[in-house]
């Protein structure tokens, strides 16, 4: 997915001077300066804690949630936050804390399912395109030209409209466009790496293209991809909840943060808690991914 994050620009200067083939083969391209946050030492830890919190909610919502997320209670409609209902209740009397907890399962699922395919396929495609070039590469560059001129949200909405609303179709729609970002990122990286000595050395040593790509190029392009993937997951939650907000994502009675915000919109002046808490969950999850991603980037750079 592309909204919001720049593809880290390949930075040849970050490569080691000594380019003996074997050392270079293990080297990691630390070329993700845009996403680095070296200031907050405790930040990555905080990010990981936040993510673990959400992961726990997603893994066992039934254990953590105080109420049945689907149970109506007509005696407790639109209750403001209280000890019994820390996040209040909605217009069916459902406990919002429980729904926010259950929703974390759906939203984390969105974060993963909407990004794993684009990452894997895009990385693979990017390696091949960057290494071999040729007609496929020309076609790809045209495709990129076309795709980047159309707002991502619009494209995804159009595809979801073709396939029908729902989570699965949303994953398909996001993946159909999202892989291009990864492919573009990896392709650019491979173009740089290809010219470096270690690849030449690999060739000299008589390695096949497959071996050079998978054993040598891939490990070198992987770190920026993984760092980008972290922020992409946060973006996937934003996009997924936006689609949910528009009624095109998760389907009720499934709780999803974006859907919950939409549910609460009509009550915003009288029952603010219906929209505010799910929104905070989105923000918190986004921060979690972002901090953890920054920490990962720093760690990867240090490892060199």
């Amino acid at each position: 997915m592309n909204e919001g994050v720049t593809a880290p620009a390949p930075d040849p200067t970050a490569l080691p001077d000594d380019a003996s083939a074997h050392r270079a083969l293990r080297c990691v391209a630390a070329s993700h300066r845009g996403a680095v946050l070296p200031v907050l030492r405790p930040a990555p830890v905080a990010g990981i804690v936040i993510l673990l919190l959400f992961l726990a909610c997603a893994a066992a919502p039934g254990w953590i949630a105080p109420y049945d997320q689907l149970a109506f209670d007509y005696r407790a409609l639109l209750r403001p936050p209280s000890l019994a209902h820390p996040f209040g209740t909605d217009n069916f009397g459902r406990d919002l804390l429980s729904r926010v907890i259950w929703a974390s399962r759906v939203d984390l699922q969105i974060a993963i399912f909407a990004t794993v395919f684009p990452m894997v396929f895009g990385t693979f495609a990017g390696c091949l395109l960057g290494y071999f070039g040729g007609i496929a590469d020309v076609v790809f560059r045209r495709l990129v030209d076309v795709i980047i001129t159309i707002p991502f949200v619009v494209l995804v909405i159009a595809i979801v409209a073709v396939l029908g609303p729902g989570l699965t179709n949303m994953y398909i729609a996001i993946s159909a466009v999202g892989w291009i970002v990864y492919a573009r990122l990896v392709r650019a990286e491979v173009l740089v790496q290809r010219r470096l000595d270690y690849v030449a050395a690999g060739r000299v040593m008589g390695y096949g293209a497959a071996r050079i790509i998978f054993r040598h190029l891939l490990p070198n392009v992987a770190p920026p991809v993984v760092v980008y993937w972290m922020s992409d997951m946060a973006l996937a939650i934003l996009l997924g909840s936006s689609l949910g907000y528009l009624g095109l994502g998760a389907q009720p009675p499934t709780a999803e943060w974006g859907v919950q915000i939409a549910d609460g919109k009509n009550f915003i002046t009288t029952a603010w808690w219906m929209s505010i808490f799910p929104g905070l969950a989105i923000v918190l999850a986004g921060i979690g991914f972002s901090l953890a991603g920054d920490g990962l980037a720093v760690w990867l750079r240090r490892r060199d």
Partner: protein, 536 residues
């Protein structure tokens, strides 16, 4: 006609028909203190699309039409009767095949040109001919010819007696347009001319369109030549301008109203009615509406995927009806102001027949019927809903709960409106939620679509009843009101017993107005009537 939202944000359509609904403008003569002048800013959910009443398609356009185009006869403001408009009086011949109308003299279109009898003949000819009459032509289908008989008289010759011809003349598509202006519009044929004319529509109604920014706002100004006078003896309307602003998002529209940026807002979500009622600056009005909300059930023997359809068994449909607690739905959906349906027709429709709920909530009976039908273990049924419509979700979520008691698992499949309509029309659905609003003050329009199988397979349910088909055809020519009423009673009894729908609730139009707005009314057919509205 249907008022499912064109925009998916169209929520809040279910409302409640309160018998005590405070309609502010029911008295046609406003207080003598009516002030003149000013601009009323009104928040719409959907912008207008096409303002030629014959070729118009959507509710918003229909509901505005009477402000721009006069009809020969008008619906009364309480929606139950008809009153003179361009025609001062009329008579129907004994054989029911001739309608003689005496036309008001001296009426002018908003551009100052006189309204001629030839305009009336031309307009009605166009609206009643199959080739030119658009989607509502069937309402005027009985008109065989229109004759100008003397200086102030128009005679309609009907092919057969038509019990609803006067009501049809009071419906928007029978509006009178200036023939010369429309034919002078650019375009190579009538359709193109109509299109270009509708950009700058001119009629003899109280208002005319001054400017229009699509999807955004429309400014209407008073027609200085309008024929009717107000309480002060001067010509109506009181308002100088109507400023219609399109704000599809319900929440935003209401925020704007509360901030005083709008004087009125339509389609208030029911969930907010209580809040707005409590606002001292606002008048929250629930206008009685000829509007019903129900679930459509596919009744064919098998679904599109070949599976057997449990709901093809009438006992199952009855059981599903019994298992819905309509009183509770009235509470959950309309916060107490609606009423359960008694017939498929809104009870304000002439000849509507009902003796209380056809299927009062009764789980025991429901279970018994399910068992008889061999479905004691229940089944799964999927209902289509418009993606993003909170109202539809609310009603389905409540039904989901209720049906779980008879082991029926209701699944909700949200689709975008366009895709939903496509599935429905292809009969590729098990259930869908639907809202019907009458356009004519007669039971025929709704009956034609929901019960008369040759039309659209009874609302695409593939339910059919030969007796109902025959009774309907008979009723269409029966001019004796009592006899027609008897036919309609039979039709409604058969339909209720067969239950091709889940009877839910009748819902009003929820409109919130600033306290300074007086004598605005939305009549049960939905038409917004601004002619007597004033600000004070």
């Amino acid at each position: 006609m249907p008022s499912h939202p064109l925009t998916r944000r169209g929520l809040a359509r279910l409302a409640l028909l309160s018998p005590f609904a405070a309609a502010t403008g029911l008295t046609p003569t406003p207080a003598a203190a009516a002030t003149r002048g000013g601009t009323l800013t009104y928040g719409l959910q959907t912008d207008y699309l096409f303002l030629d009443p014959v070729n118009t398609q959507q509710n918003a356009d229909i509901w505005l039409a009477l402000n721009i185009y006069d009809t020969l006869i008008q619906p009364t403001l309480d929606g139950v009767g008809i009153q003179p408009a361009l025609a001062e009086s009329w008579t129907v011949s004994a054989d029911g095949k001739t309608v003689t109308l005496k036309i008001r003299p001296g009426v002018k279109f908003a551009d100052g040109s006189p309204l001629e009898l030839s305009d009336i003949k031309w307009s009605l000819d166009r609206a009643s001919k199959k080739e030119t009459g658009g989607g509502f032509q069937f309402l005027l289908n009985s008109i065989q010819s229109v004759e100008i008989a003397g200086a102030d008289t128009v005679v309609l010759h009907l092919a057969q007696p038509d019990p609803s011809i006067l009501e049809a003349l009071a419906t928007f598509n029978a509006g009178i347009l200036p023939e010369k202006l429309l034919m002078a519009a650019a375009g190579k044929d009538l359709a193109e001319k109509s299109k270009n004319f509708a950009e700058h529509p001119i009629g003899s109604g109280p208002f005319m369109v001054t400017s229009w920014s699509r999807g955004n706002e429309m400014l209407l100004s008073r027609n200085p030549y309008y024929w009717a006078s107000g309480a002060d003896g001067k010509s109506l309307p009181y308002l100088d301008h109507l400023h219609m602003v399109t704000i599809p998002d319900d929440a935003t529209r209401i925020l704007k109203l509360k901030a005083g940026e709008l004087d009125g807002a339509e389609f208030v979500p029911f969930s907010r009615v209580a809040e707005l009622k409590a606002d001292p600056k606002l008048n929250m009005v629930l206008y009685p509406a000829a509007q019903v909300l129900y679930f459509n059930i596919f009744c064919g023997p098998t679904y599109k995927d070949g599976r057997k359809n449990p709901a093809s068994d009438v006992r199952v449909r009855q059981a599903l009806n019994y298992a819905v607690d309509k009183q509770a739905l009235v509470q959950v959906l309309t916060y107490g102001a609606g009423v359960p349906m008694q017939s498929y027709l809104p009870m304000s429709t002439p000849l509507a027949y009902g003796k209380g709920e056809p299927y009062p909530y009764n789980i025991a009976k429901s279970k018994q019927l399910m068992e008889q039908a061999g479905h004691a273990d229940g089944f799964e049924i999927t209902c289509l809903a418009d993606a993003g419509s909170q109202d539809q979700l609310t009603r389905l979520a409540a039904t989901q709960q209720m049906w779980s008691q008879i082991n029926v698992r209701l699944k909700i499949e949200q689709l975008e409106h366009a895709a939903l309509l496509a599935r429905w029309r292809a009969a590729d659905f098990q259930m869908r939620t639907q809202l019907w609003t009458n356009d004519i003050n007669d039971p025929n329009e709704m009956t034609l679509r929901l019960l008369y199988s040759p039309m659209i397979q009874c609302n695409h349910t593939y339910w059919r009843n030969d007796k109902v088909d025959a009774l309907f055809l008979q009723s269409q020519q029966e001019t004796d009101k009592t006899k027609r009423g008897a036919l309609y009673q039979q039709i409604q009894e058969i339909y209720a017993a067969e239950a091709p729908m889940i009877f839910l609730v009748e819902v009003p139009y929820p409109v919130a107005l600033s306290k300074k707005v007086h004598d605005f009314v939305q009549i049960p057919l939905g038409n917004n009537i601004f002619v007597g509205t004033y600000l004070a």
